[in-house]
Symmetry: C2
Subunit: 252 residues, 2 copies
């Protein structure tokens, strides 16, 4: 468990990840997650009777842990009374052809941002997320936590597993007929003027460095959220949220 | 410095707060911040020559600190080589009458969320933020950091300093002719149907508990960001971003 939480290579070889805390576990069940194992701290069944009943009914093997064990395993500041191990979903690249927006993360490094992007994308009805090489692992515990269940609700395609470089991933999206637009702080098309009813992929760059020239050469254009005043840029998760919901608005 | 960073009461009595790190300090200068004092770690002048020159030119008193001092003072995981002390701006309640959206935070408890809301609100050209009783202090170091300079770019009215309860703050906004709309995960007016060209205040509730009945009784209605699938709610900062930019879109 400790290794699953702390080491992306262990998650990858075990094809499993950990969901921490009653809220996240409940949000996973809301999305029909199946757990390989559930661990309850002392008195978790008393504190969360409804959730522990749901977990028992789900057929997942539930174990109770002694006082002090979860504290040594979990990654959250406040120890969580419930941890659950979930198998990594098998996501086919075919989801990229689904109806709805695709978001592409190129070297997104902040797990809180990636989790928040998953949450907004799921809520806005996006088709999928594609994470390029150098992005944080989607099953990192901070991503899982900040996704608030969305890691179970929206397919995440891992470019590395597909054998794609970032440029090859963009090529694949282009072959599916998607317009590929980089999110840019300035000089792109103002987002209300973008036609999101067309199949679209929005490409989000690294929080500090944006999109490189190699990526830009594989885009049809850029989209910008017009900003006033001295603001240099938006947080990438905020920008993604605004664009996801503009897509949903235009398509509704 | 340690107390200014760690204790809201000290910030309040000293009327000062701390900006941590070269990016945040540069973003503050971009917004014409005046610092009372600047502290540089060893070699900060070599690592950030342009910024240290700007700081010197700004007239702020600059001191150099010995190795290991900043590490003991700062609140960030990675010690920051530059810290600066800024006076708290004096914000009059008159800013609430300005053109543009007002966001009201009722008991917002997460500093990262509040900072992100400041950042989006500034970038979207909102008029002001009003923080109600029980909200995190706007000059908390995590708020300052995640605001990316916006704490210097958008006025933040503190209801407590104005002697207002949350309900009295809403009354004040109503007297200014603003429609007061609570952000709700369900059952409100879909946000594209809200007329943001009217003077508007969007009221954001606590991350876990939402808006209480006492608040709801002082609203004209609710606004909802339609969500698909099993998503229960959006992160409050993402919801605020979407609403701020919808307001900007309608008003542009």
């Amino acid at each position: 468990m400790r290794e699953l939480l702390r080491d992306a290579r262990v998650r990858s070889s075990e094809r499993a990840f950990v969901v921490e805390g009653p809220r996240a576990v409940a949000a996973a069940l809301d999305r029909d997650a199946r757990f390989e194992a559930v661990y309850l701290g002392p008195r978790a069944d008393v504190a969360f009777p409804e959730l522990t009943a749901r977990l028992a009914a789900s057929g997942a093997p539930v174990s109770s842990l002694r006082d002090g064990v979860l504290e040594r395993v979990g990654t959250t500041r406040t120890p969580q009374p419930i941890l659950a191990v979930a198998p990594m979903p098998v996501v086919s690249r075919d989801v990229l052809a689904r109806d709805g927006l695709v978001l592409v993360g190129v070297a997104l490094s902040d797990p809180g941002n990636v989790g928040t992007i998953l949450r907004s994308a799921e809520a806005a009805g996006a088709a999928a997320i594609l994470l390029g090489p150098g992005s944080v692992d989607a099953y990192n515990p901070k991503v899982v936590r900040s996704s608030a269940g969305a890691i179970f609700g929206i397919p995440v395609v891992d470019a590395v597993s597909e054998g794609w470089s970032a440029v090859e991933a963009l090529d694949a999206l282009g072959e599916l007929g998607r317009q590929r637009l980089g999110a840019a702080a300035r000089t792109g098309t103002p987002y209300p003027e973008v036609d999101f009813r067309r199949p679209t992929a929005i490409v989000l760059g690294n929080e500090a460095h944006g999109l490189g020239d190699d990526i830009t050469a594989h885009l049809e254009g850029h989209v910008t959220i017009p900003m006033g005043g001295p603001a240099e840029s938006l947080n990438v998760a905020m920008a993604a949220s605004v664009l996801c919901f503009e897509s949903a608005r235009q398509r509704s």
